[in-house]
Symmetry: C2
Subunit: 203 residues, 2 copies
């Protein structure tokens, strides 16, 4: 039986399956166009809905200067400025533990530049580690689509040396001290597998 829309137009199932396909493609081949941030957000959504972990990206901090309250509609922010974040982007809870991390990508092939971090972010990670939090960075080399979890203490070592030494972390050091994360279908970036390995070394 032909199915029709209320207006009388015929319903073509193929229209819908085509749409559906493009949506699911977006999810499965996420690594072909999504930024690392989008991939991690999607993975966090997966972890949340499956009761595995609760991790959220913090909103971008803005200083709101002027807000308009039009009648009968939503408040409009008319003037605001970006503030420097005082923490990392992601935190949450996994197996009762506090986890805290920053996700960064680089086009570099052989090293990860330290200029991707701010002093206060490193300070924040130090404070979290001191409280027994699980802190790390997720680093993606976009040229090769390789992703690693790098424990915060490795970042601290290079951060401390940078005044006198090199201004980046060699990829070789990341491979040796970090944990590789393989792309997957669901979640796209299964970084908690790497967190498990990392947690096993510090308990």
């Amino acid at each position: 039986m032909a199915i029709r829309y209320p207006g009388g137009r015929l319903f073509h199932e193929s229209d819908h399956s085509a749409k559906k396909k493009s949506v699911s493609s977006q999810v499965i081949y996420g690594n072909r166009g999504m930024s690392l941030e989008q991939e991690i957000n999607a993975s966090n959504q997966y972890y949340l809905t499956h009761g595995i972990a609760v991790v959220h990206k913090k909103p971008i901090p803005v200083q709101i200067v002027d807000v308009n309250y039009p009648k009968r509609s939503a408040a409009v922010i008319k003037e605001a400025y970006f503030k420097t974040p005082s923490t990392t982007d992601y935190n949450g809870v996994y197996k009762g533990k506090y986890i805290d991390f920053e996700a960064k990508e680089t086009k570099n092939k052989t090293s990860f530049p330290l200029k991707n971090f701010h002093e206060h972010q490193v300070q924040h990670m130090r404070a979290c580690v001191a409280q027994g939090g699980i802190c790390f960075t997720i680093i993606k080399f976009t040229q090769t689509q390789e992703i690693f979890l790098l424990p915060a203490r490795v970042l601290f070592d290079y951060w401390q040396q940078q005044a006198t030494g090199r201004k980046s972390i060699p990829k070789q050091a990341i491979i040796q001290a970090g944990y590789a994360i393989q792309y997957h279908i669901n979640p796209t970036v299964p970084y908690l597998d790497a967190v498990d390995k990392f947690m096993a070394t510090i308990q």
Copy 2:
């Protein structure tokens, strides 16, 4: 010896001590004018600088629609809208544990209205508790300046009943199931003392 400013104007120490006094009054008598949010932010700052805990308020989530990038000055957000937060306001790490809470004040004298919470915030707290997080609400009765830590599970009970039952948590129930927080000088709201008592009951 008279001390002068570069312009030649005399320096009067009394001007400065007067200013100093007003600043320290703001801190000590915080509960006489500060909102609960300001009091908790100040307490978190104390906990952070003394290496006791790392807890931050999350930035207000906004949907940015239009940004202006003027030459030689900071980017200006020209149009943005407030988004409904999908989590609670505060989270962080204390003694290796993930803590997560919402801070709310009420002018009511005998009960705390449940309309102070959104469904997704309660859902978020449920998810955090399921992961072993320490979740609670800090409730302030502004009329009497009384503050309590209320474990999330008590909120869950009343939240579930509200479709058929009362739409608020009686103050008596908060006194019985919660932990009173006494105002202090530093930190203003020493809520981690109450967290210690709460944590002792769930471990």
